[in-house]
């Protein structure tokens, strides 16, 4: 039996096409994937992200504990700031990629992938049991209490403030990665200026019982600006264009953040953290594989996960596999990500993607495919 978010009835009312994702029954689209993708790129899209997980970590040793299990440096964060970060195992393989917010000096809020909630909680509890200061850390899985939505697109900033009760510093004043509490019809919610689409936008965490009212309110208030509900299909095409990795496709326990090109979010100098030793080695010696972005050379069937990647040489060799791939609605060409040996990950390198038995020409390109104007 699939799980349903607090917005399930709303999705049904909107005529969403529902599919299974990480054990949840979620909307893949309402009108069409491409239509919703274009709406986010030109106006605004509203996504249900309630299936994601929320963890609360607080206490005098919360910072020390988390900084020992996450790759990025939480000391960079003042209260009201967040950062993209990764959690690695001892082999530096990625357990999850996530956002860590500092709500207060000793108060942290982690947003984790829906498919990894159980794995992350188990991993963190294990790590906590071995942490010397564990009596000063409180770790709570608050995923069932929180629902969440993401409003993304260039027009969002023009109507987002009206979706909340008046505040001395409104949501539109939040800078990228900032988070703050607001009231929506008297209910306390958390709003961050973050997203997974490559557009400006906000993510809102609210108590499950308040989310449907908030969802309807956003659609009403944003209607003149063209806001549309958007599903997981568009979420995937948007994040692929922005070159954001998806855990389970581009990241897993057998890939390291450096192989994925996420070195910016790995603070080797902050002190010890799980996976640091291997990452330091990889930084010094280089990695055996790198996540490369590629574009198909012409009109052809789209590249998809697991399609083989071949070198475009006289004696072609199989050099890797597509991890994420799709037809880019914005660029109108096939795009994808694949792990290949580092020498092939250089922009302008020609490669071939095997699409249903045929070799299709592609070129490695710099990331991202799309950057908002």
């Amino acid at each position: 039996m699939m799980k349903r978010t607090a917005l399930f009835a709303a999705h049904q009312k909107l005529g969403a096409k529902l599919v299974e994702f990480a054990g949840w029954e979620m909307p893949v689209y309402y009108t069409s994937i491409i239509d919703e993708h274009q709406a986010v790129r030109t106006a605004a899209g509203l996504f249900d992200i309630s299936h994601m997980g929320e963890l609360s970590v607080h206490g005098p040793s919360a910072l020390a504990f988390l900084n020992g299990v996450l790759t990025n440096d939480l000391r960079k964060l003042s209260a009201g700031q967040g950062q993209y970060t990764l959690m690695c195992n001892e082999k530096a393989g990625v357990v999850d990629d996530l956002y860590a917010y500092r709500l207060g000096p000793e108060d942290f809020f982690l947003i984790i992938n829906a498919a990894r909630i159980e794995a992350d909680v188990q991993w963190l509890r294990q790590r906590l049991a071995a942490f010397a200061g564990r009596k000063d850390v409180d770790l709570e899985n608050a995923s069932d209490q929180w629902a969440a939505v993401a409003v993304q697109g260039p027009k969002v900033v023009s109507f987002i403030d009206s979706c909340f009760d008046a505040a001395s510093r409104p949501p539109s004043a939040l800078r990228k990665n900032e988070i703050a509490p607001f009231q929506a019809d008297g209910t306390s919610v958390l709003v961050s200026r973050t997203g997974y689409t490559g557009e400006d936008g906000f993510e809102i965490a609210a108590p499950a019982e308040a989310i449907e009212g908030l969802w309807n309110n956003i659609l009403d208030i944003g209607r003149p600006c063209g806001v549309q509900p958007a599903g997981l299909g568009a979420r995937d095409t948007l994040r692929t264009e922005a070159c954001y990795p998806l855990y389970g496709q581009d990241l897993d326990e057998k890939t390291t953040p450096l192989e994925a090109g996420l070195g910016f979010f790995v603070a080797l100098d902050k002190g010890d953290f799980t996976g640091r030793a291997i990452l330091a080695e990889q930084k010094a010696a280089g990695t055996m594989k790198k996540l490369a972005a590629f574009k198909m050379a012409g009109r052809c069937a789209p590249p998809r996960p697991h399609y083989p990647v071949w070198s475009a040489r006289e004696k072609p060799e199989r050099i890797g596999e597509v991890t994420s791939g799709t037809q880019s609605p914005t660029l109108n060409i096939g795009i994808g990500l694949a792990y290949v040996p580092p020498q092939f990950a250089v922009p302008n390198t020609s490669i071939n993607i095997e699409i249903r038995g045929q070799q299709a020409a592609a070129t490695v390109v710099p990331k991202p495919f799309y950057r908002r104007p």
Binding site: K17, V28, I33, A301, Q327, P329, R356
Partner: protein
Amino acid sequence: MSANVPSDLKYVKSHEWIRVTGDTVTIGITDHAQEELTDVVFVELPAVGRKVKIGEGCAVVESVKTASDIYAPVSGEVVAANDQLAKHPELANSAPYGDGWFFKIKLSDPAELGGLMSADDYSKQIAS
């Protein structure tokens, strides 16, 4: 969403429709099929002149979500392939029974028409 199933067409289990005009048939994918596929981004059509046997894979339709094989619902020779569809794959979504047609076959065995599903039978299939 309830799909459109025109009563003047024939169907096969694999969600294609067939319009019979004398000894030539026009083939496309049904409204139900295009709904399931979501946005069609690429189609691969058989070459004109190719001989096909009933049940043989002869075309491919790719959507953002997935790739799907199209099977010849009857045996014969491909006499036309829809170039407009190749250039504008989204026609399969917007006009599945009209401008989104895929290809035409000249029948080699008209008796095969008897094995095709009626609109009623196809409607029952997609309702279950």
